[in-house]
Amino acid sequence: MNSIIIGQYIPGKGFFYKLDPRTKIISILFLMIAVFMLQNITQLLIAFGIAFLMLLIGRISILKVIKGLKPIFVLLIFTFVFQIALNTEGVILSQATMHFNIYSVIGIVAVFVIWRLLLRFGRLKILLFIAFMLGVYFVLRYINYLADFYSFQFTIYEKGIEMSVFVVVRLLIIITLTTVLTLTTKPTDLTSGLESLMHPLKKIGFNSEDFALIISIALRYIPTIFDESQKIMAAQASRGADFSEGKLKDKMKQIISLLVPMFIIAFMRSEELADAMESRNFVPGERRTRINILTFSMIDVYTSVFTLLCFASAIVLKVIA
């Protein structure tokens, strides 16, 4: 549970921690829309610079944000590669034949094996992955001693590089923005913010208070349910259900031996919770007062103005183009 950084709240001080959650939600929403409206790479790089500045001002640890990017790093690499491979506009920067013959296939297998071996020792998993991709590229390009049973031209166009950088940087900005949101906002504050923002929906019959309560309860029970699952797993493991080995058919049975008790316990808990809440006079739908009231301050105003400016600039740039 400790290694899940993406989406994780980490307590701290700084600009972003002082903002009202509603300001953060709305601002990040509008900033994301603004980023998607940008057309060319110069504009995007400016936006990236602004995002970076935001991190510095808010004294957010850049290291933590990079750590949060780890899970999607493979996705970024693939996006990059696909954009390069599929884009065919502009000046040709490099053109090479990729040879598939017996030697090159052996070469690919060799590079793969070396990669897996190094993975066990090395800690720089990301760098090793990049090295693996480069290895495959060089093997396919230069090992052409035999007749090919298949070959294709791998062309890198100028536009390809441009577009891939564009897409990757855009993804980075989006993820940085959302990471800032979840890093600096407690889940309960986030829920309060959403509840407040969705209040107008009461007119069409959607009770945002009940919705927020459901989310809060679910969040509160995540650690409890996790502990229960550990207990059930230990109990079933003691009966020979080995969760790490086994064929697919066995695994199904093992998963059911975990899920059925979990569901039953969850239902039992929710009944007990409902009784406990009703015993303290909770009536769903009735108006309740709250202990923490969200209030705006000057920094919320500054932030909103800033967001509005960015959004307006994006619209103007789009209209001009």
């Binding site: 207990k231 003691s238 020979g240 031996s257």
Partner: protein, 287 residues
Amino acid sequence: MGIYFNEVTHEYASYSKKTYKAIQNISLRIEKDYEFIALVGHTGSGKSTLAKHMNALIFPTSGSVDIFGKHIAQKRDKKISYNQLRKNVGLVFQFPEYQLFEETVEKDIMFGPLNFKVPLEEAKVIAKESLELVGLDETYLKRNPFNLSGGEKKRVSIAGILALDPDILVLDEPTSGLDPAGKNTLMKLFTEIHQKTNKTIIIITHDMDLVYEYFNRVIVLKDGELSFDGTPDNLFRSDVLDSNHLDYPNTIKTLKYLKEKLGLDVDIYQKNVDDVVVEINRVIANE
């Protein structure tokens, strides 16, 4: 053959890098026959952690455990099948009724044996026998476990572990939440199993009355360390209990009170209510 602990320490890691030593430098020998052991200690003394080492659910942070000849150290050894150990050492957790998940009692009890590749027909026979061992008849086989009473559920889940025919049985507070009658029924069941098969049974309990009445060896843990390992009679004659925030059995307390307040020359070390009555009658008759 048995479970041998060698200077075992288990630390739990936490988010803030400070670790918590659940058990420290525990060395113990538990043989696979003839022992009927009570594992006691205050809340948080490390009893459950110690029990989880016994079937290799968790590994020691330092030291080692030898379970039926298999050497368990800090790292997973690919050559050892830890799953097989679950057959040698059967571990029943507190509130085992929560592990029930199948549609019929029979299927749930068969879950264990089937996991160890026992043929279906043989597993069915084992299910019936295990039910008999816990005092339930065959009409229970086709019933839905979720429709049973709390006590019946407990017994079905214990039958589920007995079905594995473990050499050593470990139970974590099996009588918690039961009324005195229920406690006695269950303890009589374990005593019967022990007497019939001579297999070692280890029970984690807080109940000193049970400890004195049924067990021949007591292991006391305090703050993760071994505080006492011997017979209940020696334990209650020593001063270990006082320093461990543990209480004496009601038989001893009652007789002690009578001795001090009424001056009756009773032998306070009686194991159960019947013996107490006999002793009091004896002393009164002599006066």
